[in-house]
């Protein structure tokens, strides 16, 4: 035994437990807020994915209202979504990195982390289990009481019961140490802004002080659900490419008894024993129905020319495709043999494919979005690879070259935005109208664009007057339908808003102005782990600027119309005040009795263009 100390592997839950502030669980204030976010966002994600108009009910209650903050709170979130199948519940909430949103599409949650971290935090601070109720069919509801085994990254089910129900959906309830006195404003802000960007949802919040916040649905249509898509060439790095190659390539299966049983099963030979030739003939007949693994074993057998009995007494040591040699160990003779493989046979081709992976062209066209054959061939030329180069044979240097070239190749089509789920101009407008009751509103959804291979869409709305209090421009920032509430200082949206010269758009002083900005992307370039501000990528900045300029021009034309109307009113009032006086004074001066008939002039006065 080495005396240098021991190497321990820690489980993912252990890791996140030790680094919980990374995930937003650093103190009671932040943790309460983050936990609310995680559960509400899970509920909305689940409904979105199933096309269900969400009803989400959040409640926070102090366990002992008399105690001063920080203190234990019970946080519950209930939704009308699809629920989680009974057998997945413990894993979804009792394991980190277990989730259904890993695919490349837009969602609020990302890493199968959020809910479990909140539960983990609750358990650490209060030592109470989590309660989950879930129904996927609207008939039966599974009710779980779970705690987490942090070391093992495993849930322990304390109780599991079923009950009759009439609705699908999930509700979750945890007990956690929180500070509502400090976090309250943030949480209320979060609920308010979430409802603004989710006008198709009803969100309610019962707070610990007994206040009730209700935001009911404003629209009844949901934006189309995003689809999962393959990555764009600009959006992958060497690591991702390696993983993709790994997925596409099969290693040579070990030919053990287990494998031999599988081959027998697929060939329908479990009860029947055939000699080598008969086996090969049967395999040929059934080729199209055989699985890839089995085909590889058959190919190996074709070079070994052995039946199953003989096969079980050897071990394959090496298959060298380029030198066409196959080496095996014969247990019976206790000796190593090397045989030649005939490169002309189909079996040889089968092996090559398996070991060396597919060709570069096929890899590009099949594994990436929007890459056709012609583009793939042009790319191969650009990168200095043969189109039929097997990706499995690439050295590390070649992989780096491939990755670099993917970034540099200029003519890939722009990324497919079908994986994005913007809210849409109309619901955004309706939401803003309901929230601000403005005198003027305009919204825009820009076309899809991309930065570093990640597609994104910018939506923006501007509202003026009405219920909006004066005091300057208020910016509501959203990313993937999540409100970004803090760390405003260095955000790209604010930068773009600040750069605008409002006086050019006839907006003066501290206007009653609201800007709502929503960026959707498969990857939002957050500046910090806190995920509260978006970094300034030139592509994103440009889209934001174009959107804001468009809206500002609309605002300007509204403002000048409004200015004219105000001017007219002012005119009318002025003439109404002064013309009678002029009439009165000149009547006495002129020594007349009756005042001149000036009334008709009042009307005319209003229509006179302002003379300067």
């Amino acid at each position: 035994m080495s005396s240098k100390g021991t190497f321990d592997q820690i489980s993912p839950s252990e890791f996140f437990y030790r680094n919980r502030d990374l995930a937003g669980f650093s103190n009671p204030t932040r943790s309460l807020y983050t936990a609310v976010r995680e559960f509400v966002e899970n509920a909305l994600d689940a409904c979105d994915q199933q096309g269900i108009l969400p009803d989400v009910h959040l409640s926070i209650k102090a366990v002992d209202p008399e105690k001063p903050d920080p203190k234990p709170y019970i946080l519950s979130v209930k939704d009308n979504g699809p629920g989680i199948e009974s057998k997945h519940v413990p894993l979804a909430f009792g394991t980190v990195l277990y989730g259904s949103k890993f695919g490349l599409k837009q969602a609020r949650g990302m890493f199968g982390l959020g809910a479990t971290m909140a539960i983990l935090y609750g358990q650490i601070t209060t030592n109470k289990p989590v309660f989950v109720k879930s129904s996927t069919d609207g008939k039966i509801q599974d009710e779980f009481e779970l705690i987490l085994d942090i070391q093992k990254n495993k849930p322990i089910v304390l109780k599991h019961e079923t009950q009759d129900t009439s609705k699908t959906g999930l509700s979750i309830s945890i007990c956690l140490e929180g500070d509502y006195a400090k976090a309250g404003a943030k949480i209320r802000d979060y609920v308010y802004q979430t409802s603004l960007i989710t006008p198709y949802a009803t969100v309610t919040f019962d707070d610990p002080k007994g206040e009730k916040f209700r935001y009911t649905k404003i629209v009844r249509s949901m934006p189309p659900a995003p689809t999962i898509i393959s990555p764009h060439p600009y959006g992958v790095d060497v690591e991702t490419i390696k993983r993709m190659i790994g997925d596409s390539k099969f290693s040579i299966p070990t030919v053990d008894n287990n494998t031999i049983e599988k081959v027998k099963t697929e060939l329908g030979l479990r009860k029947k024993d055939l000699n080598y030739t008969e086996i090969m003939e049967r395999a040929k007949r059934r080729w199209s129905s055989l699985s890839r693994n089995i085909r590889v074993v058959i190919a190996v057998m074709s070079f070994l020319k052995m039946d199953f009995a003989k096969l079980s007494k050897i071990r394959i040591d090496d298959i060298d495709v380029s030198r066409k040699k196959l080496t095996y160990w014969d247990f019976g003779e206790s000796k190593s043999f090397t045989i030649d493989m005939d490169p002309e046979t189909d079996y040889y081709k089968q092996l090559t494919n398996t070991v060396q992976g597919e060709t570069l062209v096929s890899f590009l066209t099949k594994r990436f979005q929007r890459v056709g054959r012609t583009t793939a061939e042009k790319f191969a030329d650009f990168a200095g690879f043969k189109p039929e180069k097997r990706i499995g044979t690439m050295t590390n240097e070649e992989l780096v070259k491939l990755s670099d070239s993917l970034q540099k190749f200029p003519t890939f089509l722009s990324p497919d935005p079908s994986c994005l789920a913007p809210l849409g101009a109309e619901p955004l407008e309706k939401g803003m109208k309901a929230f601000f009751n403005p005198d003027f509103i305009s919204v825009i959804q820009r076309g899809a664009s991309a930065y570093s291979g990640f597609p994104f869409v910018v939506e923006m709305g501007i509202a003026y007057g009405g219920d909006i209090p004066p005091g300057g421009t208020k910016v509501y920032r959203f990313a993937n339908r999540i409100p970004l509430l803090y760390d405003e200082g260095s955000d790209v949206v604010l930068k773009v808003v600040e750069e605008i010269d409002w006086s050019r758009y006839k907006v003066k002083g501290d206007p009653p102005l609201v800007i709502v900005s929503h960026i959707c992307s498969t990857r939002i370039p957050y500046k910090t782990v806190g995920k509260e501000n978006v970094a300034d990528r030139p592509e994103i900045e440009r889209e934001l600027r174009l959107a804001l300029q468009f809206l500002s021009r609309k605002l300007a034309s509204y403002m000048s119309k409004r200015g004219l109307a105000e001017m007219e009113k002012k005119r009318a009032n002025l003439y109404l005040k002064y013309l009678p006086l002029v009439a009165q004074f000149c009547t006495e001066l002129a020594g007349k009795q009756k005042e001149p008939d000036y009334k008709k002039m009042l009307k005319e006065a209003v229509s006179i263009e302002a003379e300067t």
Binding site: R571, L574, Y578, F585, C586, T587, E588, E611
Partner: protein
Amino acid sequence: MKPKPKTPPKKSTEERRKSLAQLLKNKGTEIYEDLEKGKFPSFSVPSRSVSNIVYDTKLRQYVLGSSVSLRSTRNMSQLRSFTQLMWLAFFANRLVNEKKSSTLRDIYYSSQAFAVDFEDQPESDNIIVDLEAVLTRPREDLHIFPEERSSVFGDLTIEYTVPGYEGKRSNLSDHPDGYLIGPSLSSCELVDTSAELVIAIEKGGLFTRFVEEKVDKKFKAIIVDTAGQAPRSTRYLLKRLHDEMGLPVVILTDGDVYGEHIAMVIKSGSANAAHLRELTVPDAKWLGVWASDIEKYKLPTIPMTESDIKRITDLQKDPRYQEGNWKKQLEIFLKLKRKAELEAFSKYGLTNITDKYLPEKLELAKSL
């Protein structure tokens, strides 16, 4: 030695009043008819901007040039000031008809009774000057007076026209403190005088001394205290004494640049009143104290301040100071950089100024 009365202007106060009333009525009628016709009325107001103030060498005073600005009710931004102007004409008309007088400050407050608001007194003062320019009549004709008053003393019989005193006469030598030059003196008729000269003097102290020393008798003079820069009513009275009674006017001031300019304003007006033509006495003569007198009479002096010197260089650009004694005295002041007050003569005894300086200067004035 009494110069012949200047030809026309024995226009009685009553006549002036009547012509003004007619003028006001005409303006009112014009505007009344505009309104009847549905036309937006307007006033032409002679522009009082610096570029429109020019020196008229023939009239020997500053006058307004030809540029006028239209104050029209069509223009929303002028509507308020048009109404203010209109109100002022209306209010002045009442003052004139009712023979009542008011001060600049009164005007500012009176407006409030008519829902015509002035931001502050400078705004109403400004409208008053506009109306003066429109009518080419000084505000005193409109019975509007500034608060500052100066005085007059001497053998001059006047007849009041103010209500309650109509037809009543007074002799301005009856009261040793002199008579305030107020609304009633501004509107009185000048009946008779034995005086042959008007002495305008800058300072109240010297005015009293002159009365005590019987300068009025010794020199057959009417003495006027201008109390510094002569108010318009005082200049108007000086003009009437000269024009209607045929009296020459001489001026005594401190020996500094301000004194010299007090004399100049009596003689040829101020840029501020370029819109008016009845406030100057072009024949008036400045007796002193000149800069050259300071050395000649060995007067005690005080040093000039920065602003005294600045004032000299400013006036050197004024066309009226481009020649003769006016120019020469400025140059000497600038060289001396010292000034002397009228009281400086007291160094030689309190009566030195009346016994010696005045006669010498009057004698000299004949050749000016």
